[in-house]
Amino acid sequence: MLIRKPSDLTYADVTPKAWYLNRRKFLQGIGIASAAAVASQSLLRMAWPSHYAYAGTKLNYVKSQFDTDEKITPYNDVTHYNNFYEFGTDKGDPAKNSQQFRTSPWTVSVEGEVANPRKFSIDEILKLAPLEERIYRHRCVEAWSIVVPWIGYSLSNILKLFQPTEKAKYVAFESYYDLKQMPQSRGTGLDYPYVEGLRLDEAMNPLTLLCVGMYGETLPNQDGAPVRMVIPWKYGFKSIKSIVKIKFVKGEPPTTWSRMASSEYGFYSNVNPDVDHPRWSQAKERRLGEILKRKTLMFNGYGDLVASMYTGMNLKKNF
């Protein structure tokens, strides 16, 4: 098979998985030689409009040092049971309603209290640092949890390219929002676009992942394509999806859930079995695939790497 230099390939050039599989079947069935494969691939590329980024395209990555050895939650569960309120509030809604979501072209703007603001295309983001697979525990504020092999790199890789001013103390994130593409976001009780934030040291923590894929492939739309955050020691809603803006800011930025109910969802939202949600206990969680609940771990089990950032802080007050 003819392959151009990898650096010439862009995100949109990657053959979609469905096509890839179809092609294989096609070839197996008819048994034509590799010359035909080259021809069919270029034909496919011509036939396929290049302004969509596709979920399910393979990514190259290396292993990371942060893996848990717990059993990985099946792909189908992670992609068909999740929250992405822009596409509806039922756990099955994101998979159902996000399939036509356009994720290309896509740019992420990094701005705010920096000397050199700039925009990144998704291709630039993919090439900015070596992609790593990180198998993280992921704990939802609703007391269910999953184990996911995410793909990405530490957010610090991108933040380091900037010269923040002295005022920059926090990093704010913003999701893409388009009512036309997300009609199910109406009536969900949240304000959009979805916004989130981290303290600068939290954002620079190596565990904080800028995520572009999972299970060896690019992100499916319903899980926050094409680029999202994964912050494994915080409740899932902190891990904002489909990011278009990263902003260095002075003060603690507003966050969507906290804005909706500040007594229930704090800025930090660190996983903490001793600090209950006002309406339900956070002491236990149900790992998808299990019947009985298991104990929730402080900082979701990542205390070694993150607890020092909160020394001396009242975690009950700063929940």
Binding site: N76, H80, K91, E142, T188, L190, A261, R279, R286, L292
Partner: protein, 203 residues
């Protein structure tokens, strides 16, 4: 319509229809279609059906009067008992998979979480109603006292809706829908009492 409503077979049919939600759930469970979080699926489904059957039960009296079909009363007890049946299943999903049958832990949870407290109260209120639903108990208590007791179902339905409202994070559309139905059905009763009093005064 009336001979149909009075027929023995209609009652059997309604009984079987009330079992359909359970049959569908069992079918889903056996074919592995309860989704990624089967416990939650069963919890939500049985909770939904409890509220629906409470609403069906509360709808009988207004429908009897408005449609002039007194025969509908034949189905009220059955619908009420099905509400109790589904709330028992709902409670089982809570005390089992959620609390691992730890009664002490459950007690603490019920005490501490308002949304569990009201749900638990709504459930407990239905227990004496289910027990005294027989003709024998109506006789023993006397019609008037029996009726007083069974008005507890109003409170149970209200608490059930609050339980649901307090469960959801931000999307309150479904609990509000149930709440509106309960409000209409209870509002009808208030209106009926007031209308009767006004009629009595003017007579």
């Amino acid at each position: 319509m009336r001979p149909f409503l009075s027929s023995k077979w209609t009652k059997v049919m309604v009984f079987l229809v009330c079992l359909i939600p359970l049959a569908l759930l069992i079918n889903r469970a056996l074919s592995g279609r309860l989704g990624a979080n089967p416990v939650e699926f069963l919890q939500h489904a049985t909770g939904d059906w409890t509220l629906r059957f409470l609403i069906f039960t509360l709808a009988i009296t207004p429908l009897r009067k408005l449609l002039n079909l007194p025969e509908l009363i034949r189905f009220r007890r059955m619908l009420g008992l099905f509400a109790f049946f589904y709330v028992c299943l709902h409670f089982l999903t809570y005390i089992g998979p959620d609390q691992s049958f730890d009664l002490a832990g459950m007690g603490k949870d019920v005490w501490k979480r308002p949304f569990i407290t009201v749900g638990f109260l709504a459930f407990v209120l239905l227990i004496p109603l289910a027990i005294t639903s027989t003709a024998g108990w109506i006789r023993r208590l006397g019609g008037r006292r029996w009726q007083m007791l069974h008005r507890a179902v109003y409170l149970s339905a209200i608490l059930g809706v609050i339980h649901y409202y307090w469960l959801v994070k931000s999307d309150v559309r479904k609990p509000l829908f149930y709440g509106a139905l309960v409000a209409i059905l209870l509002g009808y009763r208030v209106w009926a009492v007031v209308a009767k009093k006004v009629a009595a005064r003017t007579a």
